[in-house]
């Protein structure tokens, strides 16, 4: 079974978690000031990298907390997990 490292609980089985999609997507401060294209870009368009991907995860059947994790989309290996609000550990290397 795939183990996911929760920053609060440690390594726990995958079935306790739910994935919440891509992390670090900031909602525009003033959505009404955006045109349709920019708003659609925020709502629907996501990166789809082959390799390291920052994702939001919820430990729904555990501590109930959201956190961020880096997962390799090819090997499914989790390389890091960090609490909400923390900077991405490999910041500056995205999109490699």
């Amino acid at each position: 079974m795939l183990l996911v490292n929760c920053p609060y609980c440690g390594a726990r089985p995958e079935i306790e978690f739910r994935c919440g999609g891509e992390a670090h997507i900031a909602r525009p401060v003033q959505p009404s000031a955006l045109d349709d294209e920019a708003w659609a870009e925020h709502l629907y368009f996501r990166t789809n990298p082959k390799g390291t991907h920052a994702e939001r995860w919820l430990h729904v059947h555990g501590c109930g907390r959201w956190f961020n994790a880096l997962r390799d989309t090819v090997s499914d290996a989790f390389t890091a997990s960090y609490t909400m609000g923390e900077q991405r550990p490999d910041a500056g290397k995205e999109g490699e």
């Binding site: 609060y8 609980c9 089985p13 079935i15 306790e16 555990g62 501590c63 109930g64």
Partner: protein, 193 residues
């Protein structure tokens, strides 16, 4: 007419038994308890240390037992507090007094949950039929508690003491499923009581 009119009352969903530690596995529904779900920011918890006799000083996924009550910390800001049924009102008032002036939420969930004790030397194997966690002493020592999944049901697993007794707390409507699941898993270890 009953004199306790106005007091919430619910029959136990499963008949209560006393766990038997002599057999390989004993699966016994527990009696009624007073239970509270407490949400309190972790910084506030460090400041108060205890509320209504329940210790709030334990780390995440720990359970602190004192007397007949258990304080299980399920997350950074969430506790499941379990105490004797007859003290329910007194406990909630004592918790409110101790947390007075702080930002918290206290919900009485006594009737939401049912508790099943899984005991005996094969208890771990029975639980692991449906729980994906490592329940070895090193990974889940006495004084551990966590929310997890057993089969399809969400449960809270508590190991209050050193002996091989685990509390499975599940929602009342899941109790028949959880109890049936455990009984079926225990058939592997022969007749049980």
């Amino acid at each position: 007419m009953r004199e306790t009119l106005g007091v919430a009352w619910r029959d136990l969903v499963l008949p209560a038994k006393v766990p038997d530690l002599e057999v390989p596995t004993s699966i016994a529904a527990m009696g009624a308890c007073a239970r509270f779900s407490l949400r309190l920011p972790s910084a506030q918890a460090r400041a108060v240390d205890q509320a209504g006799g329940f210790a709030l000083s334990g780390g995440v996924n720990s359970a602190i037992t004192s007397g007949g009550s258990i304080s299980a910390r399920l997350g950074p800001d969430e506790w499941l507090l379990i105490g004797p049924e007859e003290q329910g009102d007194a406990l909630s008032q004592a918790i409110e007094v101790d947390l007075d002036g702080r930002f918290f939420s206290l919900v009485d969930v006594s009737h939401r949950n049912a508790a099943i004790a899984v005991a005996g030397r094969e208890a771990r194997a029975v639980l692991n039929a449906g729980i994906a966690l490592d329940l070895d002493d090193a990974a889940f020592p006495p004084g551990s508690a966590t929310r997890t999944l057993l089969g399809k049901a969400e449960i809270v697993l508590i190991r209050p003491g050193a002996e091989c007794v685990y509390w499975v707390e599940c929602w009342r409507s899941f109790a028949a499923y959880v109890h049936g699941f455990l009984m079926e898993a225990a058939r592997e270890f022969g007749p049980h009581r």
